[in-house]
Amino acid sequence: MPGDSAILEALALVTSPMMLLVIGLSVVGGIVVGAIPGLTATMALALLIPVSYSLPPDQGIAMMVAVYVGGISAGALTAILIRMPGTPAAVATVADGFPMAQQGRAGQAIGNAVVASFAGTVISGVCLVLFAPTLADFAVKFFFSEIVAVAIFGLTAVIAVSGKTLSRGLFTALLGMLIATFGVSTVDGISRFDFGNTNLQSGIGLMPMLIGMFAVSQLMKTTSDSQRPSQAHLDSGPIYPPLGDIVGNTTNYIRSSLIGTIIGVIPSLGSGVAGLVSYAQARNASKTPEKFGTGHVPGIIASEAANNAAIGGALIIALTLGIPGDPPTAILLGALMIHGVDTGPMLFENNSGLVYSIYFSLFASSVLMMIFLLAFGRYIAKVTRIPNRILSPIIFALCVAGVFSGNNLTFDLGVMLVFGLVGFLLDRGGFPLAPFIIGFLLGPLIEDNYRRLMSFGGLEDFVTRPISAIFLALAIASLLYSFWKRKSQAAVRA
């Protein structure tokens, strides 16, 4: 069976000393970045694109998966120690993690968070292995209308749930799609909006745009908001959870991981929402709900298992349909595109070895993440004290080096700066950035396939072909749900 040899090759590749070294270093890098307040896993991924580009695709993507796992997992450190989620994913962890640290049980809190993160990643990884190929087999039969409908569904779901107001989410998504039209059209080779600049004929580069939007804008923010909160004392006890905490929470582990996986599959909800929903469910299912929020271990497990499980869920939809569910997976997909790899259902057909290496990288990353955090969590926690005055200028220089290394063009550095400023200004105004990047990636997919559909088929395909009809119906339902939710929230506020 050809699939078996691809699996064995991928397994051999991921377990090779070089690959384990790459994954190990990347996990540590992700943990360090995730543990520093203000720096996010998304930012780490954006910064790594140029490094990934200089490696073979399997190593480059494995590195990014490892940073993703490490970054999300380490968000718990700052949530527990300084009451500030290192990444948005760890928002719910604050509720019980910080009270535990104040009670002198920071080690126990971190240990439980680490093991829950591991369990969440592994369980969602199993779901990824089981369900992604089936979904991809189904998706490979898609024609132009299905691809357009799926992309519209991905886009509307993102817009529907992002930002305080729908208009802000729509604004950034449309802006992203519009910026993506700059340069030569892939359908007919006609150049659009190049303004006589030859650099613009190849469009706005994905790498400088991503690094500007997610790294430079974040640096502008942290450079000025440089106050560090006071830090809770990390007790001298071991950083691992008592066996009783694990055995007594078996149901919580499984339920939270499955919730996280399912929420991860839904575009744009992301790991932060997964943690919050799972936390609420754990509280509802508990015999002692009053203990939640006072330093209760099940609260930490629910949040951390779910936010890590969202990684596997997001990868299911990203790898099979090419829909980036959240900014980190958008960057991962962007990295695959930069490597010249076709994303979406054809990825499984043309690059099954790469897909398997992503699976194994996810598992290897979660094991190494747990080992590193349990063994060295006490020392890694010290990075939360690194001042911005050291980090910010060095990270910016790193952005410059990374962007320039892509095409050796100073023009790309200008693009990075412009998008850094745009990202910062939008973020300050409460405009979500996720729809921008998702619009940037999905816009060309919609346009190209729509134009081909109109040449080889017709609009009626959207309703006569069942899959595209279902996805368009889902898109409409998603928008209607969004309107209903906002209206009911407004009514509650009134």
């Binding site: 140029p50 490094v51 200089s54 305080k164 107001t165 208009s167 802000r168 729509l170 604004f171 449309l174 802006l175 799609m177 519009l178 039209t181 059209s185 359908v187 007919d188 006609i190 150049s191 659009r192 909006f193 303004f195 640096l219 502008m220 923010k221 450079t223 000025s224 001042p387 911005n388 005055r389 050291i390 910010s392 200028p393 060095i394 910016f396 220089a397 790193l398 410059v400 080096a401 320039f404 290394s405 050796n408 100073t410 700066l417 850094g420 400023l421 910062f424 200004l425 939008l426 973020d427 300050r428 105004g429 409460g430 919609i446 346009e447 729509y450 134009r451 081909r452 109109m454 040449s455």
Partner: protein, 148 residues
């Protein structure tokens, strides 16, 4: 009431109108597909224009006042822009340590002798680390200037 939404809306209106105007200069080939290269950008411009007008007319009642933009933000951006502009003239290896040391002192807002020493160390170590990773390990190029 958020004036921020109004400003963003006005920028959006100007941007979309500018692109609609510019789209009339896009060449439309006779041999092309049914839809053509201008349909999609114009559709998006129309959408952006509509949303921008909405933002101007009905801005979000929850303003962005808690996330104000201050002088320090633009100072940080200005320093970054100067750094990028100086790269093609002086080169990465000269401009980067200066930028890191300056950034260290500017963000820290303290120029004691000890801080200056720390800044110089951070500048040298940071530049060396980036050079090692990109130029030596990954064998990629760093921006070279006319001087170096």
């Amino acid at each position: 009431m958020s004036n921020y939404d109004r400003w963003v809306g006005l920028v959006g209106i100007a941007f979309s109108l500018g692109l609609i105007f510019s789209s009339f200069g896009i060449e439309t080939p006779e041999w092309g597909d049914v839809v053509g290269p201008t349909f999609w950008p114009r559709l998006l411009c129309a959408g952006l224009l509509a949303v921008s007008v909405f933002l101007v007319i009905k801005p979000d009642p929850d303003g962005a006042s808690d996330r104000a933009i201050g002088f320090r933000h633009f100072f940080a951006f200005g320093a970054a822009a100067l750094y990028v502009l100086a790269l093609p003239i002086l080169g990465f290896l000269i401009v980067t340590p200066v930028f890191i040391a300056f950034g260290y002192l500017a963000v820290g807002a303290n120029t004691s002798r000890r801080r200056i020493g720390e800044a110089l160390f951070a500048a040298a170590a940071g530049t060396a680390a980036i050079y090692l990773v990109f130029q030596v390990l990954l064998e990629t190029q760093l921006p070279s200037g006319q001087l170096f």
